[in-house]
């Protein structure tokens, strides 16, 4: 097996490098929250906060998984429709095949892992550029979701308890929907994975210098497949959360979610050229996206302008990142 290898990237603190960028992102989040709380008295109510967090879960979990892929210098465009395929497969397992909930949920997650594995295989073994490999996977997943579901939604009405996965509350008396808890658990898992395990070390290492990593005796292809597979499992979890929240698997949804997730990753300070990034950053990035959307909606800003504002925020976030890198270089 591979020899333990010190890589070029700096020793990670808690959840990975890029502390300044994280701090900036966190500061922007706080400023946004303060701004919206002053602008509308309805913003800082618990039911709204819980609404914001719940609306972060699906995009957020997608973004967490894809952070790993982006740190390797890759990209995953298949997460949006891949998520849809996972929710459809969950529907097939639970509704059409009448399997127990646990099996159905695991089946959905494994579908995601399989999608990730195939993408990883295309990227590492077949040497197809990640953009193209996952673009193709995006189409395949979209098509399969429609074919498998017969182009009509699968409803979970006869699967009691399925909607509780995202909307129920496991801690009695505390009105926190499970979906939110699952999101934060995934943040924790993703964070530990990236900063405390060998997977994380190789993720950074491949992203900062793939050739050097290979030359130091690490089986880069194998680790890439592992990383894409892990990211795929996150897609699967997002698929289950989505299905649970809507209590149905909607085969026509999902397009465009990948770009929102990638935007969250980028706002969180992960570099699209690889080698740098963090899970906490992505979490903050996803929260910035949903706080911004929610706040603008609460202020009844016309939707056309909401998207303009979000676009501008992405430019600012990435520009700050460019500035910071320029200083370091």
């Amino acid at each position: 097996m591979a020899i333990k290898q010190e890589t070029s990237e700096p020793k990670n603190k808690l959840f990975g490098g890029g502390a300044l960028q994280q701090l900036l992102a966190f500061a922007s989040l706080i400023i946004l929250i303060i701004f919206f709380s002053i602008a509308s008295s309805n913003f800082l109510q618990w039911s709204n906060i819980s609404g914001i967090l719940l609306s972060t879960t699906v995009i957020g979990v997608l973004a967490l998984g894809t952070t790993l892929v982006i740190i390797t210098g890759g990209i995953d465009l298949s997460i949006g429709t891949g998520m849809t395929l996972c929710s459809v497969m969950t529907g097939v397992f639970l509704v059409n095949m009448d399997l127990p909930i646990v099996v159905g949920v695991l089946g959905g997650i494994l579908t995601g892992a399989l999608i990730g594995f195939i993408s990883g295989f295309s990227v590492s073994i077949l040497k197809i550029p990640p953009f193209i490999a996952t673009l193709a996977m995006m189409m395949i997943a979209k098509g399969l979701a429609l074919v498998i579901s017969g182009a009509s939604p699968i409803y979970f009405n006869n699967v009691p308890g399925f909607d509780k996965i995202a909307l129920g509350s496991i801690v009695p008396g505390v009105p926190v929907p499970n979906g939110i808890l699952i999101f934060f658990i995934m943040v924790l898992i993703g964070g530990v994975l990236l900063s405390k395990t060998i997977v994380g070390r190789y993720t950074f290492s491949i992203g900062s210098n793939e050739e050097a990593t290979r030359l130091s005796g690490i089986n880069v292809n194998r680790w890439k497949m592992i990383i894409y597979t892990i990211a795929g499992s996150f897609t699967g979890i997002a698929g289950v959360l989505m299905a649970s929240r809507l209590n149905s698997a909607q085969p026509a949804l999902g397009m465009g979610y990948e770009l929102e997730a990638i935007a969250a990753v980028v706002i969180g300070g992960t570099s699209l050229s690889g080698g740098r990034g963090s899970i906490v950053g992505t979490m903050i990035g996803a929260l910035i996206m949903s706080v911004l959307t929610n706040g603008l909606r609460i202020l009844s800003i016309p939707q056309e302008w909401q998207t303009v504002v979000i676009g501008i925020v992405i430019i600012i976030a990435v520009y700050i990142d460019v500035l910071r890198r320029g200083k370091n270089a």
């Binding site: 509308s40 309805n42 913003f43 109510q45 039911s47 709204n48 609404g51 719940l54 609306s55 699906v58 979209k142 098509g143 429609l146 074919v147 017969g150 182009a151 009509s152 939604p153 409803y155 009405n157 909307l167 929907p177 989505m242 929240r245 809507l246 209590n247 149905s248 909607q250 085969p251 026509a252 949804l253 397009m255 949903s290 959307t293 929610n294 909606r297 609460i298 202020l299 009844s300 939707q303 056309e304």
Partner: protein
């Protein structure tokens, strides 16, 4: 060089295999409809190019078209892009449909301007065009088989006013701000409220793209911003389900009057559970049926009215099991 040749050969082989497969498969399982299907040369052939395909609404339109095809003994194909922003894809489908030499064309334009050159070609080639659903903004189609969305939305507004006793705050969730259905279903509702019910205030109009999740989150934000809101109207299936989800997640069932549009399993359930007061349904089967029927009549040289109203209905817990409603709604 060899590498390119090999690639080319692989692609050609893949295309060959795929086309061989699609010849044998049932059109129900393909996502984009009629391409590659054989067309019987003797029968009258009507090609329908729709705005969508995979949504249940379009599947019901297709069903209506097939009913008419059987009744009038004509050949019908039905195709449409995956989502309603793919104008270019629809143009391609229109092009392909024309290349198959149809006797008549049924067309629901995503963008009437973009389709002008193709519509002009139909005039040159003497192929009658029947517009359906949101129609085509042009003089070329002989008639338009569609729901009067403005009137349908006005009915939704009247029902809303009735259910909140003619006063209070309401919000509107629409699928998009550019399509004819989006605009008519918004304006029919908003203008009816403004003109006839001065004590009702429309506090917000937002657009969720018909995406269930997006519509859920934005309705929640609106309810947060206006906690004393009395009613919310969702202008299509995705929007309406979003409103229902939002009301359910915020535990406001019974406090907020929800009015939907179109049908689908979840709206039907919401009405039966009492989460939704009722909804407007078009008659998608009727749209498909009337389109093909109009095409047949046009080919027979019959006079057609400018607009064929394919009808709409209000349905709620009381009449949901009636025969005419059951024929119009789909699960």
């Amino acid at each position: 060089m060899r590498k390119y040749l090999l690639t080319l050969l692989t692609v050609l082989f893949a295309v060959f295999v795929l086309s061989a497969c699609s010849g044998g498969s049932d059109s129900d399982t393909s996502t984009e409809g009629a391409e590659g299907e054989d067309v019987d040369m003797d029968k009258t052939y009507v090609a329908l190019v729709s705005k969508g395909f995979q949504h249940q609404f379009w599947q019901s339109v297709k069903e209506g078209a097939e009913q008419a095809a059987e009744e009038f003994d004509v050949e019908v194909t039905f195709e449409g892009p995956e989502d309603e922003s793919q104008v270019d894809k629809q143009m391609e489908m229109f092009r392909n449909a024309l290349d198959r030499n149809p006797d008549a064309i049924g067309f629901a334009a995503l963008d009437s301007q973009a389709s002008t050159p193709l519509l002009e070609e139909t005039v040159e080639r003497d192929i009658p065009v029947i517009a359906f659903d949101s129609g085509v903004d042009s003089d070329i189609p002989l008639t338009t088989a569609s729901t009067n969305n403005y009137d349908a939305a006005a009915l939704a507004a009247e029902k809303m006013a009735e259910l909140i006793d003619g006063k209070g705050k309401v919000a509107v969730i629409v699928h998009d701000q550019t399509s004819v259905t989006g605009v008519d279903r918004r304006d029919g509702f908003v203008e009816t409220i403004e003109n006839d019910f001065p004590d009702i205030e429309i506090v917000d109009i937002q657009y969720g793209g018909g995406d269930h999740l997006e519509s859920t989150d934005l309705t929640k934000a609106i309810i947060q911003a206006h906690p004393d809101i009395n009613g919310v109207y969702g202008a299509n299936e995705g929007s309406a389900i979003g409103v229902v989800n939002a009301v359910r997640e915020l535990n406001k069932a019974g406090e907020i009057v929800v009015i939907g549009f179109d049908s689908g399993q979840q709206q039907i359930d919401a009405i039966k559970e009492g989460l939704m007061a009722g909804a407007i349904t078009q008659s998608p089967v009727g749209i498909g049926y009337e389109t093909v029927k109009a095409a047949v009549e046009a080919l027979e040289g019959k006079e057609l009215p400018d607009i064929i109203d394919t009808g709409f209905y209000w349905y709620d817990a009381d009449n949901i099991d009636d025969e005419e409603i059951q024929a119009a709604i789909y699960e």
